[in-house]
C-alpha cells in the first residue's frame, strides 16, 4: 500500500471518528444489574425502603450537549420489593400501583439543563397509574471512560397519583411524600 493510500485511510478514519463524536447525542446502555430505583415511604414516621426490581431506560445524553439529552425510564410496577411479603402483595393491589391495569410507570424528560459540573436538572413527566404529573429531577453524573453513573433523588406526592386509596389515604399513617432515589449505571459512548 502506498504512503498516499495510508494517508487517505488515516484521514477517513479520523473523519469517521469526528462525525461520530460530533454527531447527535448517542444512546447509552443501562446496566440493570448495577442500577437501582428505590423509594422511601414513611409509615407513622418509620422510613420503609422499597425498590423496583425490573426497569429499563432509553437514554440519549451527551455531557457536551446536555440540552439535547433525552431520558425515558420504564418501571415494572409488579416488581416492587419491600421488607415483607405482605407489603409486596399489598402494593400491587388496585388501591396502590394497580399493577394489573397499569403495569408500567414511566418517566420521560422534556428538557435537560446543566446545573453545575456534571450536575443537571431534568424536567419531565412522571406517569403512574395512568396519571401524568410534571417533576424536576436533579441528576449528578459521575463519569469514567465508557461509563457513567447518574444518581439523584426527588420527592413525589403519592396521593397526586392516587397511590394508596381508601383506608390507606390517611397521611398520618402513610406519609404523602415519598422519596425516590435512583442510581443508573450507563455504559457506552460518549462517556
Amino acid at each position: 500500500m502506498s504512503r498516499f493510500a495510508a494517508k487517505v485511510a488515516a484521514a477517513c478514519s479520523l473523519l469517521a471518528a469526528g462525525l461520530v463524536l460530533g454527531g447527535p447525542a448517542l444512546a447509552a446502555q443501562l446496566v440493570p444489574a448495577e442500577s437501582r430505583i428505590g423509594f422511601v415511604s414513611r409509615q407513622m414516621g418509620v422510613p420503609v425502603e422499597g425498590s423496583f426490581r425490573r426497569f429499563d431506560a432509553d437514554i440519549d445524553f451527551d455531557p457536551a450537549k446536555p440540552g439535547k439529552g433525552h431520558f425515558a425510564i420504564r418501571v415494572d410496577t409488579s416488581s416492587v420489593d419491600l421488607p415483607t411479603r405482605d407489603a409486596i402483595e399489598e402494593v400491587a393491589k388496585p388501591g396502590w400501583f394497580d399493577a394489573a391495569r397499569f403495569p408500567r410507570a414511566t418517566f420521560e424528560s422534556t428538557a435537560v439543563r446543566a446545573a453545575g459540573t456534571d450536575r443537571y436538572e431534568v424536567d419531565g413527566t412522571l406517569t403512574v397509574r395512568g396519571q401524568a404529573r410534571p417533576v424536576v429531577v436533579p441528576v449528578q453524573l459521575t463519569r469514567s471512560p465508557g461509563r457513567a453513573v447518574a444518581e439523584g433523588e426527588f420527592t413525589v406526592r403519592r396521593l397526586a397519583f392516587s397511590i394508596g386509596a381508601g383506608e390507606w389515604a390517611d397521611t398520618s399513617l402513610v406519609a404523602d411524600e415519598v422519596l425516590v432515589r435512583f442510581r443508573l449505571v450507563l455504559s457506552g459512548r460518549p462517556f
Partner: protein, 198 residues
C-alpha cells in the same frame, strides 16, 4: 404509747418512686403484652401498622423506665422481708425478681432488634428515630421474632407467678408483703384494718 401510723413492728414500705415505677411498668407490660399477642397474626392493615408502632413505642418506654427502675433499685435498699417468710420463699422471690429484671430488658431489646432486622426501624412516638441494633436480614428477623415472642411469654408466666405469690401472701398468709408495694392510700387502709382487728 401506741403508734398509729406504723402499727406493725418493723414494717417498712418501698419508696414512693419504686412503687410508682412498679405499677406504671405493670400497666405498660400488661398492655404491651396483650397488644403484642393480638397484633402478631393480623393481616396487613392500617390497624396492624398502628398497633405495631404503639407496641414499639411502649417497648422503648418500658426499656427506659426499666433502666431508671434498675438504677433506683441498686441505689435504694428495698424493705426487709417480713420475719414470717420462709427462707425457701425468700430465695424463690429473689430469683423471680432477678429474672423479671433481666426480661424487662431482654424482651424490648429483642423486639427492637427484630424491628431492625425486618426493615422497619423504631421511631419513638413517630418522632425520634432510634438506631438499628442489627443489619437488615430476613433470616435473622425470623429468628428474632421467635426469640422476642418466647421471652415475652416467659415474662408473662413470671408475672403471673409473681402476682399469684402476692395474692397468696395477702389472702392466705395474711402478711404485709403486698402492702409494701401498694400506693400510700391502699396501704393505709390495709394497715388500719389490721389495727382494728388487733
Amino acid at each position: 404509747m401506741k403508734r398509729t401510723n406504723a402499727p406493725e413492728d418493723g414494717f417498712q414500705p418501698y419508696t414512693g418512686t419504686a412503687i410508682l415505677l412498679h405499677w406504671l411498668l405493670a400497666l405498660l407490660l400488661l398492655g404491651s403484652f396483650c397488644v403484642g399477642a393480638y397484633m402478631a397474626d393480623l393481616k396487613l392493615s392500617p390497624e396492624r401498622i398502628r398497633l405495631f408502632n404503639y407496641h414499639k413505642w411502649a417497648g422503648i418506654t418500658i426499656l427506659l423506665l426499666s433502666a431508671l427502675r434498675l438504677a433506683w433499685r441498686l441505689t435504694h435498699r428495698p424493705p426487709p422481708e417480713p420475719a414470717t417468710l420462709k427462707a425457701r420463699d425468700i430465695v424463690i422471690a429473689l430469683w423471680t425478681h432477678r429474672l423479671l429484671y433481666v426480661l424487662f430488658f431482654a424482651v424490648p431489646i429483642a423486639g427492637w432488634a427484630y424491628s431492625s432486622a425486618s426493615g422497619f426501624p423504631v421511631v419513638w412516638f413517630g418522632k425520634i428515630p432510634l438506631p438499628d441494633l442489627v443489619a437488615r436480614d430476613k433470616g435473622l428477623a425470623d429468628i428474632l421474632v421467635e426469640v422476642h415472642g418466647t421471652l415475652a411469654w416467659t415474662l408473662g408466666a413470671l408475672v403471673v407467678l409473681h402476682a399469684a405469690a402476692a395474692i397468696k401472701h395477702q389472702l392466705f398468709d395474711k402478711d404485709l408483703v403486698l402492702a409494701r408495694m401498694l400506693p400510700a392510700g391502699a396501704r393505709a387502709r390495709i394497715l388500719a384494718r389490721r389495727e382494728a382487728r388487733r
